[in-house]
């Protein structure tokens, strides 16, 4: 069986996950949230030039990271992620210190060597395709990795692509719908739209002709689903169903997750707490408390522990070297076919 959700039991009929799973998910959500808070304070203290990230998407992105089949090559899942995917990375096992390194744009940043903005992950070892700033292009690129995994290819993995709501106005979103649903040539592609109802300052309202973005898949005869991305258990179940369908049928599915944008768009808009948005973390804490799985004091303890851990991490990288001026000339071209398995 695939390496997906190694230590998570499938959701029981109740729709609740096991206590153990809930606590694992909660812990990852909390770590992701605190990581983003740390990145924001680094930005505010001048330890980085720009912040963008995922506070408000943890309840959806953590299950995604747990359920993705992690590994390199076509027998594992390719992930074409958005710039709000820190929780997915942590759930897959990434070390948060590397996110701090990218924020601080030091030479040790394993994702871009100090070249790219925070949240722009890349990890070939796990099939995490470099996150690109241009909105929605990942939808045109994802059809390529999905084609390499199409029915009959023998590949075990599938392709997962994720983007925001406003970005679906780009032609690339339609490209993914058209190319993945060609009759007889369907692609094993899970398209995820994380809908926070905003594109920077522009509200969803008045920019779209449909109630749900997922409806756009219906015209193409593809499976679609909408999930409350602020509910980690619902998200987990929806992702499990969606991944199972795409994996077994080798056909596309469009999944829309309704999420929050708790710190606004990015540091450009201040990165301060936004009022009136559901906080999936507080909500899940309340659920777990109600289920007696966790207490106020545990929460405080965990929070304090992780915060301290990340503060240490930020201290640890303080003196890591900046990339050298000459390093701009490195990696303009590749000498080996790394993706082809050469060393």
């Amino acid at each position: 069986m695939s390496s997906a959700s190694p230590n998570l039991s499938v959701a029981p009929p109740s729709g609740h996950l096991s206590a153990e799973s809930c606590l694992q998910i909660y812990d990852l959500m909390l770590r992701a949230r605190i990581l983003e808070e740390r990145l924001i304070s680094m930005y505010k203290q001048g330890d980085g030039y720009f912040w963008i990230g995922g506070p408000g998407e943890e309840a959806f992105n953590v299950p995604l990271g747990l359920l993705a089949d992690k590994g390199a090559g076509v027998d594992h899942d390719y992930l074409h992620l958005h710039y709000r995917s820190s929780a997915t990375l942590l759930a897959m096992g990434a070390d948060p210190i590397d996110s701090l390194r990218q924020m601080r744009n030091v030479a040790t940043d394993p994702y871009s060597k100090g070249r790219n903005f925070a949240g722009h992950y890349s990890k070939r070892e796990w099939n995490i395709v470099p996150v690109t700033s241009p909105i929605e292009v990942q939808f045109s690129i994802a059809i390529g990795t999905a084609r390499a995994q199409r029915k009959g290819s023998g590949a075990k993995g599938i392709t997962i692509v994720q983007g925001g709501d406003a970005g679906t106005a780009e032609g690339d979103f339609a490209t993914a719908l058209v190319w993945s649903s060609r009759k007889g040539n369907e692609l094993p592609l899970l398209m995820i739209v994380t809908n926070n109802r905003y594109g920077i300052s522009t509200a969803f309202q008045g920019q779209h002709g449909y109630e749900q973005i997922a409806d756009r898949g219906k015209a193409f005869g593809m499976q679609t689903a909408v999930v409350d991305g602020n509910d980690p258990e619902a998200s987990y179940a929806a992702l499990q169903r969606a991944l199972h369908y795409v994996r077994t049928e080798k056909k596309p599915l469009l999944l829309e997750a309704m999420v929050s944008r708790l710190r606004g768009h990015s540091s450009a808009s201040g990165a301060n707490l936004v009022k009136g948005e559901v906080d999936c973390l507080e909500k899940f804490e309340a659920t777990l408390e109600a289920r007696k799985l966790i207490g106020k004091d545990d929460i405080a303890k965990r929070r304090a522990a992780i915060t301290a851990e990340l503060l240490d991490a930020s201290m640890q990288i303080r003196d890591e070297p900046a990339p050298s001026p000459d390093s701009i000339w490195e990696h303009v071209f590749a000498d080996h076919n790394l993706v082809g398995g050469e060393r």
Binding site: F50, N105, A169, A322, I328
Partner: protein, 353 residues
């Protein structure tokens, strides 16, 4: 003492209130934000588009064909590269139809490095833009020029690209660079036309009594006169070239700095006059150095003034690499800096014929 972005906003106000501008649009251009650089705050005809650059450019072309006066914005020129085919159509529609149609639109877009924008907020667009026939291309380096060039762009019956040097948008004008009619006091100006922080739904700008100023497209300006070396630049690099020139003056090197302002059509007579005087020329821009617009300027100079030259013309431009890195060292090493401009001028000045 307005900033360039305020000058642009004032030009757009004059455009929509006196020159028939019907639509000012792009991503986050309308309320509440009024543009990621505040360039369209408080404008009556500003509206938010879907997140689709192809739709933005297509809408601009269609509005123009329908006799409207659109001013469209691509939020960063880094995101205009999926629309080059449409930009080519805007530029070839008049020609393809044998003069049956013209396409009077203005496309504004922030360009260049200088804000640690990393790979996708540091692109230059001048080389790409000058490769699209049928467009006029302008790029100011002062608030006053921004105001006067934008008004000329709005009045032009052809597609005009208005390249906004990102790093200069918030720089205040120096004496003599004011927008005619703006209040001398910049606090006052800010109170009048800058949207307040927080909820601005009730806010209304109060515009100063602005005079119209039309800086002719195709006219350069000599930003500094000198006799030893001619430096041809535009946009963000102009103040850098001026700083380099001032510092070199101390070393006895007398540099002339031409601010091209219009890239297409460009002011050949101004270049010719200066090069005939100095016999040495340096072109400075931030775009990647292979197939670069400065190379066109040099080729033209070589073709027409080869025997006047006392040194090989030089180009100082962006490194030919796939992106501009975020870290200080990386951005600094990728595009011209005052130091590298000084070195290039000095080397030319010291060259013996």
């Amino acid at each position: 003492m307005s900033t360039m972005i305020q000058a642009i906003r004032m030009a757009l106000h004059v455009g929509e209130s006196r020159l028939g501008v019907t639509d000012i649009f792009g991503e986050d251009v309308g309320p509440p934000l009024g543009g990621v650089f505040t360039g369209s705050q408080g404008l009556k005809t500003a509206w938010n588009t879907p997140l689709d650059e192809r739709g933005i450019v297509g809408t601009a072309i269609g509005l123009a064909l329908a006799g409207q006066k659109p001013v469209a914005e691509i939020q960063f020129c880094d995101y205009a590269f999926n629309t080059i085919d449409l930009l080519k159509i805007a530029g070839n529609t008049c020609w393809a139809s044998g003069g049956d149609w013209n396409v009077p639109l203005v496309l504004m877009t922030p360009v260049g490095a200088g804000i640690r924008g990393s790979l996708y907020h540091s692109h230059s667009f001048d080389a790409q833009a000058t490769r699209i026939p049928g467009w006029k291309i302008v790029m100011p380096s002062t608030p006053r020029d921004a105001y006067g060039l934008l008004l000329s762009a709005i009045r032009d019956p052809n597609p005009v690209m208005f390249l906004m040097p990102k790093a200069l948008l918030r720089v205040k004008s120096r004496p003599g660079e004011d927008v005619p009619g703006e209040p001398g006091d910049d606090k006052r100006l800010a109170q009048m036309i800058d949207a307040p922080l927080g909820d601005r739904s009730a806010w209304q700008p109060s515009w100063p009594e602005l005079e119209e100023l039309y800086i002719p497209i195709g006219e350069a300006t000599v930003a500094r006169t000198g006799s030893h070396v001619t430096v041809i630049s535009y946009g963000r690099n102009v103040p850098m070239c001026l700083a380099a020139a001032e510092q070199l003056a101390a070393e006895g090197i007398d540099t002339e700095v031409i601010d091209l302002r219009s890239l297409h059509p460009f002011d050949w007579p101004a270049i010719e006059a200066s090069v005939r005087k100095t016999a040495k020329v340096l072109c400075v821009n931030e775009d990647t150095e292979i197939t670069n617009f400065g190379e066109h300027l040099i080729r033209r100079i070589i073709e027409e003034l080869f025997y006047e030259l006392h040194a090989p013309p030089k180009l100082l431009a962006g490194a030919a690499i796939p992106g501009i890195g975020l870290a200080d060292h990386l951005e600094m090493a990728s595009v011209p800096q005052v130091e590298s401009i000084k070195a290039a001028i000095a080397e030319l000045a010291r060259t013996e014929p």
